[in-house]
Amino acid sequence: MTVRRIGRRAALALALGGSVAGAFPRPAQAQAPRSRGPRIYMVTFRGWTDSDQGFKDYFDRRRLAVDIIHRDAGGANAKVAEIVREIKAEKPDLVYAWGTGVALGVIGPVAKPDPERFVTDIPVVFLNVTDPLGSGIINGLGPTGRNVAGSTFLAPIHSQLQALHSYRPIKRLGSIFNPSEANSVAVINDVREQAKALQITLIERPVPLLGTEPDRNAVPRLLDELVAEGAEFLFMPSDSFLSRRVEQVTEEALQRRLPAFASAEGTLGAGQALMGLIAKYHSVGQLAGLQADQILFQGVDPGSLPIGSLRRFSLVLRMSVAKRLDLFPPMLLLRVAEII
């Protein structure tokens, strides 16, 4: 390979001379057969997603030979238990557990991991679990101490508020959320705490419940109240109510010239949110790949790995909304943002 590094001019001279460099074959390991590597059971909940592709891509990019066996639960928890039995029989080298349902079914709750029902003797890497602490899969963000490694995928609240603050420095932040979803309440509590550091006041408007369901007709009134109290932005946690009603909520907010900030992909993808700070599922899958790499190829004990998190999240800006509000993103955000 000493022919390389000949510099631009020299290479040009070579090319003119009719001899073309670059005809070297790619290294042989690029085509190395897969089957000789460690076996990984990838268990997904509802089909092949970007995360799963990210996980697989991780090994492909690095030309690490792994033998991947994919099993999909088809959205059924019962199917998960079945796959667990198969795993126990097949004894692969590692299990990939996508989402809260699969993770709970494979690893079991942190309190009582029954070795009969759950996988305890094979390393498990979980991902895409919205609230691993709340769902009882782990009891802290440090090393699990078990045969389990995993990652969170929500951007930390302080990063979200920082992104929002960088768009426009604000004093008052409005929020509507479903008070019956523990997830949502936890996020709002977190926002209230973190907002203090930025000297932002959080104005909270839980959506009143009609029986167990939040009353969607109350949304316009709540938005009016927020505007009246001087809210400059609307913070939308990623609860199932808001995710379902995101078009209505963001359109109503826009009519009141209230820009919306989406806390996760659920409230960002559809609707008219101005911005959001989210994790790319492909990157989340690659993070799981990195953890699997450490466990399988570098001999790292899965229990010693802290719960992973992405270092950078994707800032997504919706330019059409910015134009409608005449509220253009600052240059420093524009440089790193994904424009939709």
Binding site: G7, G22, R26, R61, Q286, L310, R311, R312
Partner: protein, 254 residues
């Protein structure tokens, strides 16, 4: 060598040494300054490319699929004749994109890969013969190093600049020494003339005394010299007296 020439020669030598040292100092500072500026410039180019890659990576574009970077690499290399190549390597050191398309698909030198590993996530720099390679690891959002941006530039171009500037410094120095020497010799001559005259006068006086002659005492003669010459004259006179006396007695006796 006469005294003025000796004094002038010593001073010229000191000045030459001074100017020489100054030239070396200035040239080294120039080399250092130029190096820092070039380094900052090329680092800026590298970090610009890395920033673009980071954004694309966060958007989910795979490093291997960033063909859109090619124009930026080509633009970068066109800005500066000293630049040899700009390349994007994957985690295994295979060239994904390069300003020199013949390199694409080839493995980069192993040393680059180990430099990226050793640098952890910081930038690195390597000297490869006449070239300097600047590298910056690309860190994906999930925390792993997924590749490297490497930029190579030739030191020959900047060395040429340093050579040229050193030459200018040397010319200035040589000019200064020559002008100084031309000025100095007459100055030393003039300043030392009284002393040389005094010494010449002393020589005349002594030579006269040696011939037994007495010269009339000038007002500015050195008193000690005059006394010495007078002493010598007295000694010659005394000896002469003895000789004459001896001669007279000899004749008388004969």
């Amino acid at each position: 060598m006469s005294l003025p020439v000796r004094v002038a020669a010593i001073l010229v030598l000191i000045l030459a040494a001074t100017v020489g040292l100054t030239t070396v100092l200035a040239a080294n500072k120039y080399r250092q300054g130029l190096g820092e500026i070039l380094d900052a410039r090329y680092r800026l180019a590298v970090s610009d490319i890395v920033a673009t890659i980071d954004t694309s990576l966060d958007l989910g574009v795979d490093l291997a699929a960033m063909q859109s970077l090619q124009p930026q690499l080509d633009r970068t290399i066109e800005t500066d004749p000293a630049l040899l190549y700009v390349e994007v390597l994957d985690a295994e050191g295979i060239v994904l994109l390069s300003s020199d398309s013949s390199n694409v698909g080839l493995p980069a030198p192993q040393s680059w890969l180990s430099a990226t590993r050793n640098a952890r996530e910081g930038a690195w720099q390597r000297r490869e013969g006449d070239a300097v390679v600047l590298g910056q690891p690309i860190v994906a959002s999930f925390g792993a190093v997924v590749g490297t941006v490497a930029l190579g530039y030739s030191r020959a171009v900047s060395e040429d600049r340093v050579q040229d500037v050193t030459q200018i410094f040397m010319n200035i120095g040589i000019g200064a020494v020559i002008v100084f020497a031309l000025l100095l010799v007459p100055v030393v001559m003039i300043l030392l003339r009284p002393e040389r005259q005094a010494l010449a006068e002393a020589e005349t006086r002594i030579a006269a005394a040696a011939r037994g002659e007495t010269t009339e005492t000038g007002p500015d003669g050195d008193p000690l010299l005059i006394a010495a010459c007078a002493g010598a004259a007295a000694a010659f006179a005394a000896i002469d007296h003895i000789r004459r006396e001896a001669d007279r007695l000899d004749e008388e006796g004969a």
